[in-house]
Structures are given as C-alpha cells and as structure tokens.
C-alpha cells in the first residue's frame, strides 16, 4: 500500500508538468493581455507602455517566460500577481476560508440529500415519487446557475428582505455564525441543487444495476429484510461510481464555484479565478490551475483507496 501510494505520487510529477506546459501556452494563446486595462487610459505614453511590458516580463519570448516560471515553481515559488504585485500563494491562501465556508457545507448537504434521494429513486423506480425526483433532477441540472442565483436573490433578498443578497459576512460586524449562515443559505442552495441532482442520478442508476445482480437475489432468497438487502448489500456496492464522482468534484471544494461566487460576491477562489481571467493575470491563473491539478491527483488517489475499503476484492500492487 505504501509503495503503491509513493509510486502514484511520483507518477503525478510528469502529469503536473505536462498540464502546466499546456495550460501556460494555451493561456498565452488567448487574445488580449494584462495590458488591456491600460490601453485607453489618457495618461499612457509610449515609454510608459514599454516600461509596463518590461515590468511584467512580457517583452521576453514565450518559452523564456515559461522556463522562468517553471524555475521559480521548482523552488516552491508561484510568483507574484501581475495585478497587484503580491505573492500568488498568498492571494490563493487568503481565499481559502471563504471557499471552505461555502463549499464544505454545500458538499455535506448535497451528500446528505443525494444518497437518500438516489436510493428512493432506485427502490421505487417508475413510481410517481421516482418521476417527481427525476423532474427535480432535470430541473437542477438544466438550471443556469447565474439565472437561478439571481432569481433567488430577487425573491428572498429583494422582495421578502429575509436574506442578504451578497457577500459572506456583514462587513464591520465581526464574525458570527448566524451571520455566516444567513449569507450561506442562497449560494448553498444554488450549489446543492446541482450536486444533489447529478449525484442522486448517479446513485440511482448504479443502485438499479446492483439490485439486478445475483448476490442481491441471493440475499433476498435468504429471507433478509428488504431494508437490509438494499442498505447493507446493494448500496455499499453501488457507492463505488459515486465515490469516483465525489472525488472528482472534491477539488471544487478548493477551487470554488466560479459563477455562484460571482453572482453572490462570495470572496472565494472561483471569484479570484474569474477576476484573474478577465484581467489575464497569468501568474495567478497558473497558480490556481497548478493547485487544482495537484488536488485532482490527490483526490483521485484518495478515491482509489476508498474503493478498497468499499470492496475488499480490490487489491493494490
């Protein structure tokens, strides 16, 4: 097991390298650039523009820019933001509290809701309740986040005035759990709606397949209670595909939900990524992507380990 983990982590190094190489060049292929914001400013002079280019290092060939970025990365330095001259790592880390405050509760809520919904859908397949849940799932998956988010804001914040329209804490009030909770409800609803809808669909189809398996028929033939058959025998086997999906979704915990955070002015990583993208703040974008790629590797590994716990037949060599 230990050797397996070590090997997988070493394999991740070239993967991360290739990902960084491709993202770096694709990113610089995007038209526009960090100097766009200066381009129609009344005080711009030709020398001023040249100084900015030189300061950002944009006057060097692209491969030189990449190599110098990579050289710094090897030393553990993610560089400094074009936008504000601050270290990229610091800019990412300062967004983590707000990101976790939104994503962890949304994730937990989604799991708590998705599992029973998926089970009910599978056990009562083609019943009215299954159709109802199916309609709900289509609604959740098809709903555009920015539209649904703004509708919630208009109804609950503007019309009814029950909940705040944006932000994660009321500025100037100090931290309080109730304040955070009030701010959490709307964005959490938006995020959970999508996750619950998609995860419950995965679980429903996976459980349906499992319920048709021989070992389930055997369990039923032994006279076990239906609840035991479903929950102890079938569900455990049906969870494996869901674990994969959850592990793939876990990095969003850290990278944030771009649209939701923008609509609700939630100061998390998704928000940072969006703003950095519109400003072409290459070092911050690279920093976030490297960070997320690393998390993907870690969570994939975690998912593999979890398979073993769920299904002892899975061995690690």
């Amino acid at each position: 097991m230990g050797r397996y983990l070590a090997r997988r982590l070493i394999q991740a190094v070239p993967v991360l390298f290739i990902v960084s190489l491709i993202t770096f060049f694709v990113m610089h292929l995007m038209p526009g650039g960090p100097l766009a914001a200066y381009m129609n400013s009344p005080g711009l002079t030709a020398e001023g523009l040249a100084r900015l280019k030189h300061y950002f290092g944009l006057d060097r060939p692209l491969y030189v820019q990449y190599l110098s970025w990579l050289g710094e990365l090897v030393k553990g330095n993610l560089g400094t933001s074009f936008v504000n001259g601050q270290p990229v790592l610091g800019r990412i880390l300062e967004r983590i509290p707000a990101t976790l405050a939104l994503m962890l509760p949304s994730f937990l809520l989604s799991v708590i809701l998705a599992v029973p919904i998926g089970v009910v859908g599978a056990v009562r397949k083609y019943s009215w309740i299954d159709y109802l849940l199916t309609i709900f799932a289509y609604f959740g998956i098809a709903m555009p986040t920015f539209w649904f988010g703004i509708m919630l804001v208009i109804f609950f914040a503007v019309r009814l005035g029950w909940l705040p329209a944006q932000g994660w804490l009321t500025p100037g009030m100090g931290f309080s759990w109730t304040d955070l909770l009030r701010h959490l409800i709307l964005p959490m609803t938006v995020l959970a709606l999508y996750s619950v809808a998609s995860w419950s669909r995965y679980l429903r189809s996976s459980l349906l397949e499992t319920l048709g398996k021989d070992f389930v028929r055997t369990a039923r033939a032994k006279g076990l209670a239906e609840a035991t058959v479903v929950l102890r025998h079938a569900l455990r086997n049906a969870l494996i595909p869901l674990v994969t999906v959850l592990a793939m979704d876990m990095p969003t915990l850290f990278s944030g939900a771009l649209i939701t955070e923008t609509v609700f002015a939630w100061p998390g990583m998704g928000n940072l990524f969006y703003v950095s993208l519109t400003k072409r703040d290459y070092p911050v974008l690279m920093g976030i992507l490297v960070f997320v790629s690393f998390l993907v590797v870690v969570f994939n590994l975690l998912a593999d380990v979890l398979y073993g716990l769920l299904d002892p037949r899975i061995q690690y060599e």
Partner: protein, 566 residues
C-alpha cells in the same frame, strides 16, 4: 487623474454554468472554454424585478455611521500611482489620498493640498510656462508626521523611478528639476512648456516620503504599503482589505478640512451589476456608482434612493482604421458620418440620456465648443461623396471600385446591449449607401489588448473617458504614433496644434487653439466617428452630501458624506 474605460462594459453573466474545475486536463479545457465564454462576456440586460422592493430587512445592519459602497470591480492596489483598473481604484483611493488639486462636482480644478491653483497671473506659473511654484497647506499624515514639500517631491520621483511601472508618467516626465524652497513651497522647472502640468497633480496622488525612504527602489512595486496604505493624508484612513470581499476605511479625525461626517466607509465588492441592483433595492448598500442605463427605471423606483443623472467626461466613438486604403479616402469617412443618424443613437439607444458630439470633447470638458455641431444625417450627401470617391453601385446594391466591394468590419465589445443596437443601426443605414458592414465583436480584454492595438478592425467602437485636461485624451489617441492611436491616424496640423497649446499656459488661449483642432477632427480629417456623450447614473440611498461630478469618481468629497438620521 485618469479614468480607464473598461468600466462601462459591464462584464457579467453569460459564463458556462457552474465553474468548478474538474480534473487536471479538465481544468485546462475549462480554462479555454472560459476564455471563450468570457470572450462572449459583456452586457446582457438584467432581469426585470419590477414590483415594490422590500427595503430594510436585509438592510444595512452596520454600526452607526458606517456607509456601505457597492464596488463593481475590486481595485488592484491602493497606491494611486501604480496598477491599472483605475476607476474603481481611484474611487477608493480618493478617500485616503489627496492631490495638490482636486476636481469638484462642476468639473472645476480646485486647490486640495496646494493653497491655490497656479496661473501666470498669480505668479504660480512663469511667463515662459517653464516654472511652476506650488504653495502647500499645513496637514498631517495619519501617523502624526507633518506633510511637507518632501512628500510632493518624493511622489514624482517615485513615479519616474525606472523600477516602477506607473499608471501614468504624463506631466511628470516633463520635469527637469525640482526645488524645495521651504517645507511648504516647491518649485518645478520643466524641460519644455507643458500647459496641463498642474492637472497632473490631481487627487488621488501624494505618497508619504517617510514610509518609502528606507525601501530600495526594487521594493517599491511589491511594498506592503501598496495594498495596505496605513499612512495617508485624506479624510479617511485605511483599516482593512479582505480580498474579494471588502475594503474598509475609517474617519481620520485629523483631516485638514476637519473630521469627516461618516465614521467609516465599507467598500463592498460586488462584481455583478444585477447583484448590485439587488443590494441597492434591499438596502444593503448606500452607494452604487456608475449603474447601467438599463437599470435606471428600477433604481428610480427604490424608495428613498437619490438617483443622480449627470454628464460625464466620456464619449462614445468609433475609430476608423487608416491602415485600410478604403478608409484613407477622407470622402469615405465623411460619407459614413453623413450616412449615420446620431440623433437616433441618443434617442433610441440611450433613451435620450446623452448629447451628440462632433469631436473628442464632451460637454463636461472645459475645451468643449457648443458651436461645433455634429455633421447632420444626410444620406444624399453621403451618396454623393461615395460617388466622387469612385465607388459605384453594383447590381446587388453594394458599391464597387476596381472590382472590390465596399466592405468594412465593425468591431466592439461583445454582448453589450447598447453597442449591439448601434451596430444594427449602422449596418442598416450604411447598407442604403451601398456599404457592406460585417460585425465582429470581442470580450473587452481581447478587444483592448489585441484587436485595437494590433489594428485588426476597420471601424472600432468604444467609450473613452478623458482626464480633467483635454490634452491627454486627444494626444494619446490622435497624435502621430501615440500608444492608443489605434487607427494609425496622422495629421500634421493636429500634431502642430497639440504642440502649440502645450506651450500656452493660459486656458482661454488654449481653448481657442482647441477649437481649431476640434474642427479638423470633426469635419476636415476625422480619425473617428464621434457619436455622443452618455449621461452617467450614480445612486445613493440613506446618505447626505452625495455629489458626483463629471471628472472624478463620486468619492471626491467623501468627507461630506453622512448617513441620514431617521
């Protein structure tokens, strides 16, 4: 001083759903997808809310005396001499950083840290226009240190330091030498006359020498001060900046005009105009600067909201790319002007909230000449000019010359409702002249970062916001070889008049020179199609003393802002 114009483009919405990054390669694919999606980013009209807003409950529950200002875009830095993103940085910086001068709500240059605006008459400017003397008032930095001529001297030296990438060097690059006559008097000797020199010192600007004196120039750009300016001179002091969330400034009791009326201002970052509207409706913010025209009716319907609609120092125009031989013929450019009904643009596209302009000086500018009328809508005249230029109508209704069709590409920022309407009107009206107009739009960063600077367009529409002094905008766009001269315009007379007014310190004389210059830009050799100057919409709710003006962002008089007592 400068306003950058990316602000009016209202980037929002239109992204792909749910932004989570999945998978290492997935993340990369998503990046590309996002690039394309933000490429399609822009306006999009907000959903109609209508009905009656239920103000209060979600309301401004802050401590007494706290004003909440909804900030559409997060500043990059809070050092007023560096970093882009100027409108919203300036908005916050104005509460902490005075200049030697500031601009009031009538667009007038007034003294700030200097005791008077220098003129030749009051001896502040020498007759040859080469020596400027600034007299400074008594003021204290927020750490108790006195403000002196040393701070003024350091500020321009910081900007001109080769290790610094400043917002603008304009004006400061003309300084030959400085002399601190005493603690409250500083004199600048210029290399050559530069009439807008005083206006280079407009707020927000002055940096504390005693904070930077121990740093090496290598540390200037990354100094912690740039993000947390703890020592300032303005009505408010820096308290905290929570990235992506808010910036808080608190009253400076030692401010030289007297303590401000509000206890603190929280700049709440809300990067979505629909969310800003909702926050205004629910009473969570007191101030919403620069709202889009599409929200005007909803903003007016908010009980207790003070909606200020006022002229701004900006104008919408479409630059003509003179790299294209078709547009090098001035008759074709004039035909496009005669063939487009600009009154319709103001009436229909801007609901009457704007003024048509003939040149690059909007009504809020001191160089504006009301006698300079835009060319009238006259399709017959336009057709005649195209005939003269040798473009003959073909069987398909389009004009041809030597077998080449009169085909032009019109570009601007994507998904912007008013620009999309403008394009449709131009396409329809010019089609009647026999012009085949192709529309190709881009996201703002692509448009300003690549399309315009590289000249990959024929006609490019955008909004330009002038600085207080008319020179900066004209020079940067229409002088030969200037960095934002996107159409490669070059007119010897324009260059000569620009140089001439720089050597003329007297404003009335400069205005006369400007009148000649504007006639060239408007009629004789237009570099662009000048459309209109749109009105600006700023909203406050529950505060007194809100007086937005045409030049500086609304916080120019933040010391007068006060929460209303019920």
């Amino acid at each position: 001083m400068g306003d950058v114009q990316l602000r009016g483009n209202g980037r929002k919405d239109g992204q792909p759903r749910r932004g989570g990054l999945r998978g290492a390669l997935g993340g990369m694919v998503l990046l590309v997808a996002l690039a394309l999606a933000t490429a399609a980013c822009g306006g999009g009209s907000p959903p109609a809310t209508g009905g009656s807003p239920a103000g209060g409950a979600g309301g401004a529950a802050q401590g007494a005396g706290t004003i909440v200002d909804g900030l559409y875009e997060e500043p990059d830095l809070l050092n007023p001499t560096i970093g882009a993103n100027m409108t919203y940085s300036t908005l916050v910086e104005l509460t902490m950083f005075p200049g030697l001068f500031t601009v009031d709500d009538h667009g007038r240059l007034i003294p700030d840290l200097a005791t008077e605006v220098p003129t030749v008459q009051n001896g502040g400017i020498s007759k040859d226009g080469l020596t400027y003397t600034f007299h400074l008032r008594d003021a204290k930095w927020s750490d108790g240190q006195p403000f002196t001529a040393q701070d003024v001297d350091f500020t321009w030296r910081f900007i001109m330091n080769p290790k610094v990438a400043p917002r603008t060097t304009a004006g400061f690059d003309h300084i030959a030498s400085s002399k601190m006559i005493d603690d409250h008097t500083i004199q600048f000797r210029l290399k050559e006359p530069f009439a807008p020199f005083a206006s280079a010192w407009v707020a927000p600007l002055i940096l504390p020498y005693h904070v930077f004196k121990d740093l090496s120039p290598d540390q200037y750009m990354t100094a912690a001060y740039n993000k947390a300016p703890t020592v300032t001179l303005g009505p408010f002091k820096f308290k905290e900046w929570k990235s992506g969330d808010h910036i808080t400034v608190v009253a400076n009791p030692d401010f030289w005009r007297g303590a401000p009326k509000a206890k603190e201002i929280v700049f709440k970052i809300i990067p979505d105009q629909n969310s800003l509207l909702a926050a205004m409706q629910s009473g969570e913010v007191n101030v919403y600067y620069f709202a889009p025209i599409t929200q005007l009716a909803q903003l007016k319907a908010i009980p207790g909201a003070q909606v200020v609609v006022h002229p701004q120092l900006a104008y919408e125009s479409a630059v003509l790319n003179l790299r294209n031989p078709i547009l090098q013929d001035v008759r074709v450019r004039q035909a496009l002007e005669y063939g487009l009904d600009r009154d319709v643009l103001v009436k229909d596209v801007w609901k009457g909230m704007g003024t048509t302009v003939a040149g690059d000086q909007p009504p809020g500018s001191w160089a504006y000449d009301p006698g300079l009328k835009p060319l009238p809508y006259d399709p017959a005249k336009a057709n005649q000019l195209l005939d003269e230029a040798g473009w003959k109508k073909g069987a398909d209704g389009y004009r041809y010359k030597n077998g080449q069709q009169l085909k032009l590409t019109y570009s601007t920022t994507a998904k912007n409702p008013w620009r999309a309407q403008t394009e449709q009107i131009a396409q329809a009206q010019w089609k009647q002249l026999g012009v085949n107009l192709q529309i190709r739009n881009y996201d703002a960063t692509t448009y300003f970062g690549t399309i315009l600077p590289k000249g990959q367009f024929d006609i490019g529409e955008y909004m330009y916001t002038n600085a207080y002094d008319p020179y900066f905008g004209t020079q940067v766009q229409y002088a030969t070889g200037a960095p934002s001269n996107f159409g490669k315009y070059s007119n010897a007379k324009v260059d000569q008049l620009l140089a001439m007014q720089l050597r003329t310190p007297d404003q009335a004389q400069r205005k006369a020179i400007y009148a000649q210059l504007e006639r060239i830009l408007a009629y004789e050799d237009p570099p662009a199609l000048f459309y209109y100057s749109p009105m600006e919409i700023d909203v406050s709710r529950g505060i007194d003393g809100y007086k937005p003006g045409p030049v500086l962002p609304d916080t120019w008089n933040s010391w007068e802002w006060a929460l209303k007592t019920k």
